[in-house]
């Protein structure tokens, strides 16, 4: 029974990682950069939704929409101000800039929202399911997280593969210069990617804070790193890969914590990542890159 409980909790955590990992994977796939600030956009999303819902007393759905809109704008602004000037610079310079943006967001949030933690009100009102006389409980948040992540993966896959804009994103991710020659506006495509990724971050923020209802300026940091690991595990750039990677990381983390050692749970997650990459160097669903001579 305890195992089933832990497995379900792992799936719940994993679905949240999956939604965050989608943001990483999209941005990496198209802009070829590790957006280290992604986790902090989640935190900002959490604060915006909190402010709308609790302080301004708006309805949860409206608050979530405001959160998504705010994060989308934030994502576009970050891209325009910090990343666009570095489009032609080495990927390392962009990485460092992203780290700068991450510090900036964390400390800005500290100044604006203060240092005291806030308790997030869960936006989920799905009743929990009790199995085996209450021995196993599936929380409403768990159900919501799993459904939302599956819906997002399906929608995103459809969008990327079956719409004009989505195919433009694929083209840019394959070859920026060739895409430009074919009449695709690379800059706006990259902006669109950031917008979608950041919007997803807001949703991830709501899911994260609903399941683990605490909100501080560092809320997004650790889930961000874990989700990044999940994206790499699943094969960075691959949308279903992010889902698989996220769920795997979540389940391994919870099971490791329950059955091996809470202190070593993270180490186990990272060890699994290393093992997978050694066997399959581009992640589970990653594309093999052929080397040009």
């Amino acid at each position: 029974m305890a195992f089933l409980d832990n497995l379900i909790n792992g799936m719940s955590l994993g679905s949240i990682y999956a939604v965050i990992a989608l943001g990483y994977t999209l941005v990496y796939g198209i802009a070829k950069m590790l957006n280290f600030a992604h986790g902090d956009v989640i935190m900002v999303g959490g604060y915006v939704v909190f402010t709308a819902m609790v302080t301004a007393n708006l309805s949860p759905w409206l608050s979530i929409l405001i959160g998504i809109a705010a994060c989308t704008v934030l994502g576009i602004v970050i891209e325009k101000v910090a990343y666009k000037p570095l489009r032609k610079a080495s990927s390392l310079s962009v990485l460092i800039t992203a780290i700068g943006v991450s510090y900036f967001l964390q400390n800005m949030a500290l100044l604006v929202f203060g240092e005291k933690p806030r308790t997030f009100t869960s936006v989920v009102n799905i009743p929990k399911i009790s199995l085996f006389d209450g021995k196993v409980v599936i929380k409403g948040e768990t159900i919501a997280a799993i459904i939302v992540s599956v819906v997002i993966v399906v929608c995103l896959s459809l969008f990327v593969n079956h719409t004009q804009k989505g195919r433009a994103m694929l083209a840019v991710s394959e070859d920026k210069d060739a895409a430009q020659l074919m009449g695709i506006n690379v800059n706006s495509t990259i902006s669109l990617t950031f917008a979608i990724g950041s919007g997803l971050a807001a949703i991830a923020g709501v899911l994260l804070c609903s399941s683990y209802p605490t909100l501080t300026n560092t809320t997004g940091a650790m889930p961000g790193i874990k989700a990044f690991v999940a994206a790499v595990l699943g094969g960075i750039g691959s949308i279903p890969g992010a889902m698989i990677g996220g769920i795997l990381i979540g389940v391994i983390e919870i099971l490791g914590r329950a059955y091996i050692s809470p202190q070593l749970a993270d180490a186990i997650v990272f060890a699994v990542l290393i093992l997978v990459l050694i066997v399959k160097p581009t992640g589970i669903l990653g594309k093999k890159v052929n080397e040009k001579v």
């Binding site: 990496y28 590790l34 910090a82 000037p85 570095l86 032609k88 610079a89 080495s90 390392l92 310079s93 990485l95 460092i96 800039t97 780290i99 700068g100 943006v101 991450s102 510090y103 900036f104 964390q106 400390n107 800005m108 500290l110 100044l111 790193i225 990044f228 690991v229 790499v232 960075i236 050692s261 202190q263 070593l264 993270d266 180490a267 990272f270 060890a271 990542l273 290393i274 990459l277 050694i278 160097p281 581009t282 992640g283 080397e291 001579v293």
Partner: protein, 361 residues
């Protein structure tokens, strides 16, 4: 020495000279008492971070692979040497003997782990290699944070669970107390020793770059397939570089751990690795002198921003972003360079300086 000194040799000697000058300047300040406590406290950390940056530059700049596990090697060096010093501090009371031994212990342990980790890791490339080094760094940190070691009359006790699990006898002593780490390490790090080690690190780095091995490593960076086709053993050269990086990072860890009373593994998280990477990138990939300058400036910067109080980390973030954009964006950089050249030419007529050969090549 030949009549004409190669630009590389000249560059390295300029760096040595600058280091020695800086050292002398600091010594004068120290001896005349004209230095604030804060600057005094920062001297060893600056050397430590400079060593870390120079050593990481060998992997990032010379080998051309992105490593995010520098803190892990530092952690191994710090822990192994702190354990060593704590065990022998009663038997070897003379720091001048104990500390060099500790440095060797830390460096060698880190190098061994560097080689062990390097074998699987260096098969990967690009961002995948980066994430795996980050993973190894985190594993090292987590394992040390979960490790309990104590000894008593019955011998050594090791546990991964808790202090109570060790079942130490009454005369027992804790060596590593889990996440709370090691305390009581003798404060053997001094600025003088740290500065000497920094100088040695720089000498090693320059000589490595100019050696046959270094050139082989750079040829792998520039074109792996071509290098392979002329018969270079890729794995061997990669491992040598990775091991050397780990060795130097381990030594930096030794200096670090012997500078503080207590040491906790959580200090060596991915943020530390990223910090060192920031030094390397900002200082210029492949530029050893740049690494040292960037490490010094960025270690000082948050301290100098103390006067702006709660805005200081925000300012730090902004400075970081602006510096990155100014040094990496071609248009902005061009603007600065043009104006700087105009500015310089006002003073130096007809002395147009040719752009120096790119460092590290």
């Amino acid at each position: 020495m030949k009549k004409k000194i190669s630009p590389m040799t000249r560059k390295s000697f300029v760096t040595y000279g600058l280091l020695v000058l800086a050292f002398i300047a600091v010594e004068i300040l120290l001896n005349t008492g004209n230095i604030s406590s804060m600057m005094k406290g920062l001297l060893v950390p600056i050397c430590v971070y400079s060593i870390l940056a120079v050593s990481l530059n060998l992997t990032v700049g010379i080998l051309g692979e992105l490593s995010l596990g520098q803190a892990g090697f530092m952690c191994i060096g710090a822990y192994s040497s702190a354990i060593f010093s704590n065990m022998v501090k009663e038997t070897i009371t003379e720091p001048m003997i104990r500390f060099p031994l500790a440095i060797l212990v830390g460096g060698i342990f880190a190098a061994i782990f560097g080689l062990l980790i390097g074998i699987p890791v260096l098969r990967l490339r690009g961002d995948y290699l980066a994430i795996v080094t980050l993973a190894f760094g985190e594993i090292i940190k987590n394992v040390f944070a979960a490790l309990y070691i104590g000894y008593d009359s019955a011998g050594l006790h090791i546990s991964l669970k808790s202090q109570g699990d060790l079942k130490l006898a009454a005369d027992g002593k804790m060596v590593i107390n889990g996440a709370l780490g090691i305390s009581g390490t003798p404060n053997d790090s001094t600025f003088e020793i740290a500065a000497v080690i920094l100088l040695i690190t720089v000498i090693i780095a320059y000589n490595f770059v100019n050696s046959r091995t270094g050139r082989a490593v750079m040829s792998i960076r520039d074109n792996r397939i071509a290098a392979e086709s002329v018969g270079l053993n890729i794995t061997k050269y990669k491992l040598i570089t990775f091991g050397l990086t780990a060795f130097l990072a381990g030594i930096a860890g030794v200096l670090y751990s012997h500078n503080f009373y207590s040491l906790q593994a959580s200090k060596f998280d991915y943020n530390m690795s990223i910090l060192v990477l920031v030094f390397v990138v900002l200082g210029g990939i492949g530029s050893i002198r740049g690494s040292i300058i960037a490490a010094s400036v960025l270690t000082l910067l948050p301290e100098l921003l103390r006067s702006v109080n709660k805005y200081r980390m925000l300012m730090y973030a902004i400075v970081l972003i602006v510096m990155m954009i100014c040094t990496s964006n071609a248009t902005i950089r061009g603007f600065f360079v043009r104006n700087a050249q105009k500015f310089i030419s006002l003073f130096k007529k007809n002395k147009a300086q040719p752009e120096a050969v790119k460092e590290g090549e």
